[in-house]
Symmetry: C2
C-alpha cells in the first residue's frame, strides 16, 4: 500500500502536465517553497544537480579561455540608465534597495537582474590598450527579476546562473565569441544533459534589451512547449559608446570595444525534468545525476546482506556516484523512491543473489532489468550508464522530431497549434507585425531563425508576402 | 628601469602596512574598486584563489556529511525580527529592498546579512520527526552588511562566504557539530592556507547575535594584528523556540531542535595576504595558488626557447597548475610580476640552460635559486612545493609565537600594547566590564578563551579579582 501511495500521489503527465511538473519537483525533493514570495529553496538533491551542471559547464568555459570574476550585486540607478534599450527592458522588473542600515540612500540601487552595466563600468577603467583585449570574463551568481507569476526553476524572482561578459578589439572577434559560446551551450546540452537543441538567432522582437543580435538554443519539452535554454548576445559597440569603453589600438587610434554576453541558468534543470521525466518521476541523465547508482538491499536483516551492499558500494564508488539505501523502508518503497528521484541505475542485492554470485540492475529510463554476475558489476554498470546517456538523447531527439511540423499557410499553421503541440517550421517575411499577429491569435512566438535554414516555401506563413527566413515557432515556457 | 619601477611602486610593509596591503591587492590584480560604494570587483587572480579555497573547503564539508543548498537572498522584515538578539545585532547594518518593479512592497525585505532566520523558516516546515535529523546544510553565497568603512577582502558591503546551518535532536550533538566545524576550519587554515590559528571560545561580549556560544579561530597577521578567520556558533534551542521548530522524538514527544551555524568568507584571502606577503608582493601557499609554477623563457626570441618552455609546461601541467609567461616584456619585468602575484615557483629556461639540459627554479618565499636537470623537473618541483607549503606554516607559527606575550597585571599589559604588537595572553575574571575598560583604553579586544588554557596567574589582568579564564587579547581587523 505504502509503496503504491508514493507513486499515486503524482499527477499523470498526460492528465495535467503542469501539475505533474510541480509534483515531481516537490516529491523528488529538488525544491521547496518559502515565506519569501516568488523565491525558492533549492534542496540538496536540486543543488547537487546544479553543482554537477556548474562543474562541467565551468570546465568547458575554462577550456574556451574564460576567466571567472565576481562583480557587485547592486547597480546604482544612474548606471542602469546609461544604455537606453537596456534600462527600458529591465527597469520594470527590478528590486530596489532604498535604505542602507538606518539611513536612506542618496541614490537607490537595484539588485542586478543581469550585469551588462556593471561589466561596462568595470571595463571602462580596466581596458586601456589592445594588449588588454580580449577580456573573457564570467561570473556565477544569483540575479533578481520581479516576476509576477513564478514556477520552480522556470521563473522565480531570484535565480542562479552564470553570465559571461566579453570585450573585443574587433566586430569579427565579438561575433565569433558569440557563436562559440552558443555552440558551447548547445554541445553541453546535448552531450551532458541529453537534451537536443535547435541553434539559431532570435528575431529583433525577441532579442535581448540592448543587443544587436541574440542567439539562442531552443529545446522541446515533453508537452510540446519550447524552452529557451541558453542565450548569447552580440552588443556591437552600443554599450561601449554609452559607457565610453575605449582602447588604444595597434595603429595608435582610440577605438570602442565590441562586446558580448551569454548566460545559462537553473532554468535548465526545468528542461531536464520536462524532457526526460515520466510518470514515475524524475529521470536524470547519468552525466549529471548526483547519484548514478542506488543499491537497494533485499531482506537486509538477513546476515551478510548489508555487508555485501556496502562492499558493492565501495567497489562502485571508485568509478561512479553511488549510494546504498539501507533505511528501514520496504524494498518496494525504496524502488519507488529511487525512481522518483531519477537515479539512472538501481542495483538489487539479496540473499539469493549473493548465493548465486549475481545482482539485478534496473535502468531508470526503460525500467529494463538485467541479471549481472557480481564480478562484472563495474563494467556492466559503466556500459549501461553510457548506453542510457546516449539513448536518452536519441529518444528526446525522436520526440522532438515527431513533434516538429511544417506549415506553408496560416490555415495549416492554426490547425497545427489547435490540434497538436510542438515546433512548427514556417517561412516569415521579417516583419514584426506578423509575429505580433501570431502571438495575439495563438500565444505562439518565434523561437528562432535556425542556423540550419530550410526552404519550406516562398511566402510568409502569416501575410503571404515574400519570405526571408525559415523560423521555428512554438508556445514557450 | 621598468623592472624596478613595478616593485618600487609598492609601499614597504615596514613603512605603512595598510598601504602595503592595498598596493599588493591592486598590483597583484586580486581586486578592483567599483562605482558601487563599498563593493569590490574580485578579478580573475582573486577569484581563482577563492575557487581553490571553495573547492578544498567544500570537499572537507562533504566528507563531514554536509549537503549544499540554496536559500533566498531576501528576508522579510517580520522574519528577521523573530529572534530578539539577532535582529538587534543585524538590523542596523542591512540593506532594505522597498520596491519590486514599479510597485512599493507590502513588507520590506532585507538583503541577507546571514541566513539563520531563513534556515529556521525552512526547517520549521522541513523537519517533522527525529528521522529528519540531523539536517547539516550549507550554502555558498554572497551577503550584505552596510559597513561604513570598507577595505578589500577584510570589510566590504557585499562579500562571498559559506554559511552552514544545522539542526539536531540533542544538545550534545549540536555542541559536537559546532566544535567539529571549528576544527575543520582550523585544520583547513593550517594544512591548506599555511596559517596557524588559535582555537577557542568567544566571550559573551564578542559572541554572535543570538548564539549561546561562539567559537573562533584567530590568526595573527604580519603587523601583529589579529584576524578572526572563521566562526562556529551553537544556538541551543533559542532560535527553535522563536521559530517553532519542533520534531516528534523516538519517545513520541514533541521537542525543539538544537541548532548551529558556521561560516568562512573571502576575508580569509586578506589573511593569506597579510600572513605570507612580503615587500615583493603576494606569497601564495602552493595548495591554493592558482598558478603554482610560472615558466619564464630567457632570450625567448632565440630558436627553440619558446618551444622548450611549452614542452616543460606540458610536462608540468600533468601534475601542477602552470603557465608560461611568453609576453614581450623583459625577463626582469616578468620576474617582478611573478613575485608580485605570489607564484610559488618560477622556472627560468634560456638557450644556455637548454644546452646544458637544466633549468633554474626560484622559490617565491625564500627567493632561493636552484639548478635542476630537466629530467628531474617534475620531481624537484613537487618536492619544493611540499617544502614551501610546510615551511610557510612553520614560519608563520614562529612569527606568531615570537609575537605572543604574557601579562600578569595592567602595567605589563599596557606596556606591551604600547610598545609592541601581537597577542597577549592574560587572565580574566569573566566580567564584561573589564573587557570594556581594556577596549576603551587600548582598542584591544578579547580574541578568544583558547581551548588550550594556560595558568598564567591567579588574578584578572584588569581588575585583580580572581581569574576564571586565560584569554588571548589583541588589536583586530
Amino acid at each position: 500500500m505504502a509503496d503504491k501511495k508514493m507513486v499515486e500521489e503524482i499527477t499523470s503527465m498526460n492528465v495535467d502536465f503542469a501539475q505533474w511538473y510541480t509534483d515531481v519537483v516537490k516529491k523528488a525533493e529538488l525544491i521547496d517553497y518559502t515565506s519569501v514570495k516568488g523565491c525558492m529553496v533549492i534542496k540538496p538533491a536540486g543543488y547537487a544537480l546544479w553543482e554537477l551542471i556548474q562543474r562541467q559547464l565551468d570546465e568547458r568555459f575554462k577550456n574556451a579561455g574564460v576567466e571567472n570574476v565576481y562583480l557587485p550585486m547592486f547597480i546604482p540607478e544612474s548606471l542602469l540608465e546609461k544604455e537606453k534599450d537596456h534600462v527600458e527592458g529591465f527597469a520594470p522588473e527590478v528590486a530596489w534597495v532604498t535604505h542602507g542600515g538606518l539611513q536612506p540612500l542618496q541614490e537607490r540601487l537595484c539588485v542586478r537582474p543581469t550585469s551588462e552595466t556593471l561589466f561596462c563600468d568595470f571595463y571602462k577603467n580596466d581596458v586601456h590598450s589592445y594588449r588588454d583585449l580580449p577580456r573573457v570574463y564570467n561570473q556565477w551568481c544569483s540575479v533578481v527579476r520581479w516576476e509576477k507569476e513564478t514556477r520552480p526553476f522556470l521563473r522565480s524572482r531570484e535565480f542562479l546562473w552564470q553570465e559571461g561578459h566579453t570585450a573585443h578589439a574587433t566586430e569579427e572577434e565579438a561575433q565569433e565569441r558569440t557563436i562559440q559560446m552558443l555552440n558551447l551551450y548547445a554541445d553541453f546540452c546535448e552531450e551532458v544533459l541529453a537534451i537536443p537543441v535547435i541553434r539559431g538567432q532570435k528575431t529583433d522582437k525577441e532579442k535581448f534589451a540592448g543587443a544587436v543580435a541574440t542567439y539562442t538554443i531552443e529545446a522541446l519539452m515533453h508537452d510540446g512547449k519550447a524552452l529557451q535554454s541558453g542565450t548569447s548576445h552580440n552588443f556591437g559597440d552600443g554599450f561601449a559608446k554609452a559607457f565610453g569603453i575605449q582602447f588604444a589600438d595597434k595603429d595608435n587610434t582610440l577605438k570602442y570595444v565590441h562586446q558580448t554576453s551569454w548566460g545559462m541558468s537553473t532554468r535548465i534543470i526545468g528542461a531536464i525534468i520536462m524532457v526526460h521525466g515520466d510518470n514515475e518521476g524524475l529521470v536524470l541523465p547519468p552525466r549529471v545525476a548526483p547519484v548514478q547508482i542506488c543499491i537497494v538491499p533485499i531482506q537486509q536483516k538477513k546476515e551478510g546482506v548489508l555487508e555485501k551492499a556496502s562492499e558493492l558500494r565501495d567497489r562502485l564508488h571508485r568509478h561512479f556516484r553511488v549510494k546504498v539505501d539501507d533505511s528501514d523502508k520496504s524494498p518496494g518503497w525504496k524502488f519507488a523512491e529511487a525512481e522518483m528521484r531519477g537515479y539512472p541505475l538501481r542495483v538489487e542485492i539479496g540473499p539469493k543473489d549473493i548465493e548465486a554470485g549475481k545482482c539485478v540492475i534496473c535502468r531508470r529510463d526503460t525500467r529494463e532489468k538485467l541479471e549481472v554476475p557480481l564480478e562484472e558489476l563495474e563494467v556492466k554498470a559503466g556500459e549501461l550508464l553510457e548506453i542510457m546517456q546516449r539513448e536518452m538523447l536519441e529518444r528526446a531527439r525522436v520526440h522532438r522530431d515527431e513533434n516538429t511540423w511544417t506549415a506553408v499557410n496560416m490555415d495549416e499553421f492554426v490547425n497545427i497549434f489547435n490540434e497538436k503541440s510542438g515546433f512548427v517550421k514556417a517561412m516569415w517575411c521579417g516583419d514584426e507585425e506578423c509575429e505580433i499577429q501570431i502571438k495575439e491569435r495563438l500565444s505562439v512566438t518565434s523561437r528562432c531563425m535556425p542556423f540550419a535554414q530550410e526552404h519550406i516555401g516562398e511566402n510568409c506563413v502569416c501575410c503571404g508576402r515574400p519570405a526571408k527566413k525559415m523560423v521555428y515557432w512554438g508556445r514557450a515556457y
